[in-house]
Assembly symmetry: C2
DNA sequence: AAGTGGTCTAGACCACGCG
DNA sequence: GCGTGGTCTAGACCACTTC
């Protein structure tokens, strides 16, 4: 009864009504929920499942693909299909302005970054608008992959007027620390949070399946003077990140934009 | 050159390297970006595309499925495949505690709700924990689909101690208004925001493809006394909703939990 | 070399929608 | 009724991992 192959044996019987791949998907999902399969366990090969359940491999793949997309399973080319490890989610407050580096360090997580891009460019129209640059000004771009405990968590792409950050290569782990050292530390920011499905490129960087859900955050940070310092687009893994916000009742001043 | 079929003709030629379905996907994506195909346009049938590009229908479906999942295309069974309408996103502030109803009305959107469930139940363990109920207390559950301008925007599932809301069927459009009338209007709330891929059931309710990204929000609302009034889980369409938050620098009190 | 997932095919039938 | 997408098949070959 605890035999793994037994999970798939009855798929084709069940009172008809649902498509085959849905029934197979549910059978696997249930096995994971019941604990018959635990995180890290390997599933039988697609061909074996197809044989056990007496259905075609294409149909097996459809069921598995769905579960990969839902984050229940992971597939490794040439290696096999496995139950996804349970990801403990990380939280970040939405009421304080903190840097990723500080935030993770406070949690005792081992953080590192991989640089994706650092350089000075001519501003895009969007950057000109948001940062308030003239067309002959320059903008520093700093893009990196944020990694905590060897798990890629987020992609950050920041644009800062070259006036505030003339040399992006001098940026250390924390962009905020660098800005503070230069006397232009932001004191206020507006964030816009949304959800989207990851494209191939970003999914690859974050080590999840394309189409996985991501939290996308656009942040505009302000100096005390009201001038915009930086504009950052971040993409967080949906399975690894929670944002926490505290709200208060009131018709008083809210968020801009 | 603006002939729709021409989009697919050269797919099989292109310098090899990428899988066929990826090349086809890019061809369609490009056509949408370039404006050769505009929102609302119908694509040729899967069979026609397969013939035009001289590839199998299964491969065409794989390319199309990817784009449906990314929200570029929508498919209607028995009808056809279409370029997805551009969705204008709705914003909600994360610094004020507002009700969905008020929020949409302020934007001049025509709002309505469909009740999914209203009733009094024995509390689940989670509800007992969160609402601070004893096991013999009762809980009112109120679930509905929120619709703005005929587009389903969100699913809200609220749990309120029966002490505060003995008759969930007396709830009007705004739960907050009902609570206020009963003298238990929340003044503070903590929200947890995350992203996930929609399962079949919720995707169906929100009229998007299963696997589409959603913003999930868990909210716990408090009375002035500090007592918990309600616990709500909401699922927002990722393509239709933005949350906006304003942050301030400081190590002062942040969010709980 | 053997086994795994990744891609692709040609053809079939079903379920839905629309005129 | 006809065309659409939705499901399913049996079989093939490629690319990658593991031994």
């Amino acid at each position: 009864m605890t035999d793994v192959a037994a999970i798939f044996a009855n798929v084709k019987d069940a009172a008809i009504g649902a498509p085959l791949y849905v029934r197979l998907r549910k059978a696997i999902e249930d096995a994971v929920k019941r604990g018959t399969l635990v995180p890290g366990d390997a599933l039988p090969s697609e061909r074996d499942i197809a044989a056990s359940a007496d259905i075609s491999r294409v149909t097996v793949r459809k069921a598995i693909q769905d579960l990969v997309q839902l984050g229940v399973l992971v597939q490794r080319h040439g290696s096999g299909t496995f139950v996804a490890p349970r990801m403990e989610r990380v939280e970040q407050s939405l009421s304080r302005l903190t840097s990723f580096t500080e935030d993770m360090a406070r949690r005792g997580l081992d953080v590192r970054s991989v640089w994706l891009d650092r350089g000075v460019y001519s501003p895009s129209p969007e950057e000109m608008m948001t940062l308030g640059l003239s067309s002959d000004a320059m903008v520093s771009r700093v893009s990196r992959l944020r990694i905590a405990n060897d798990t890629p968590l987020a992609i950050e792409r920041a644009s800062i007027s070259a006036e505030f950050l003339p040399d992006p290569n001098a940026t250390g782990a924390s962009l905020y620390a660098t800005l503070e050292a230069r006397g232009c530390k932001p004191v206020r920011a507006v964030q816009r949070i949304s959800a989207a499905n990851l494209g191939e490129a970003d999914a690859g960087l974050l080590d999840v399946a394309p189409g996985s859900a991501s939290l996308n955050i656009e942040r505009v940070s302000y100096l005390p003077s009201g001038k915009v310092v930086e504009f950052t687009r971040s993409v967080y893994r949906g399975d690894a990140y929670d944002f926490v916000a505290e709200l208060r009742l009131g018709s008083a001043e809210g968020a801009a934009l």
